[in-house]
């Protein structure tokens, strides 16, 4: 009777170890899988360059036409990206804000996007001088 009990205990231990090892392996796999499917950093980099594009256009306009235009001035096709998300193109929304002090315009360009139902944004600031 004792012998049978021992055998059962051993089998149970086997199952426990097996479950632990497979769960651990599955955990690692799931973790790696989610990291590879998250292109957030690449999208942020694209957004930063888009904000710089908007600022470059605003600087040009300020130098040539002596005015600040807060509308999006870059190329329209740059408002969409498929970087690491071929199946679902991501749309960017560009908003510019002007905090003026006489000729000094403190411009903040905010680029927003939604990835995997999560909203994210990046804001780039620059001072643009408009010489009258």
């Amino acid at each position: 009777m004792n012998k049978i009990n021992n055998e059962r205990g051993f089998m149970l231990l086997n199952v426990v170890f097996l479950t632990l090892i497979t769960s651990f392996a599955a955990m690692i796999l799931l973790n790696s899988d989610s990291r590879i499917r998250n292109p957030q950093a690449a999208i942020r980099l694209t957004a930063i360059h888009l904000a710089n594009e908007q600022l470059a256009m605003m600087e040009s306009l300020a130098a040539t036409e002596k005015r600040i235009d807060l509308n999006y001035l870059g190329k329209p096709e740059d408002l969409t990206t498929i970087n690491f998300s071929e199946e679902n193109p991501i749309e960017f929304k560009v908003t510019s804000t002007d905090y003026s002090e006489e000729n000094f315009h403190y411009i903040a360009v905010k680029v927003e996007w939604t990835l995997n139902e999560r909203k994210d944004s990046v804001t780039i600031e620059r001072t643009i001088i408009v010489v009258p």
Partner: protein, 191 residues
Amino acid sequence: MFRKKNHSGGFVFAEFAIALPLLILLGWGLATVGLKIFYLGKIQLADYVLEEEVHDVLSRIIYDARAAKNVKAVNGAPTLTFTYRTINEIKASDGALEVGDVIADKEEHRVYILVGGLKKKGSKINYKRVEEVLANPITGDNYFGETRVTQFEFEKIGEKVLHITLEMQSEVSSHKIKISTAVYMPGCESF
């Protein structure tokens, strides 16, 4: 004694018969998971290299463009050439340094040129300070993942505004990354 031995032997065999498939299954599972993790790690590194190279090239171009006096952009065989002011030119003006002025004792060029052809395997962007010297690749040759250039375009989209589009593809993951940006060049005289 004889009977007992026989009984034990039978039990060991039965246990072995159950344990072996379980062990094989476990080994196979672990090997599959291990390989998958290794593969994902490789892809992650390759994608990281791709992202970093695109970012590095664009940062360099923006930095150089900001200070340029002349810009020459050719899209057929993608080449971007920046020329800077010399010390004498700066002295000849009112002596004050303007935004982005580069101090050089003679006329200096910085050239970004695509070598190897667009979309071709092993295509690289090379960087040179003077047109005559040997080129230096600034993309590709990375141990963690080879890359190729699939798009490298320049366009004037505003007064003194250079628009750059760079798309690269990883040879390892086949993933592509395309980034566009623009830079305003305050001291640019011809573009």
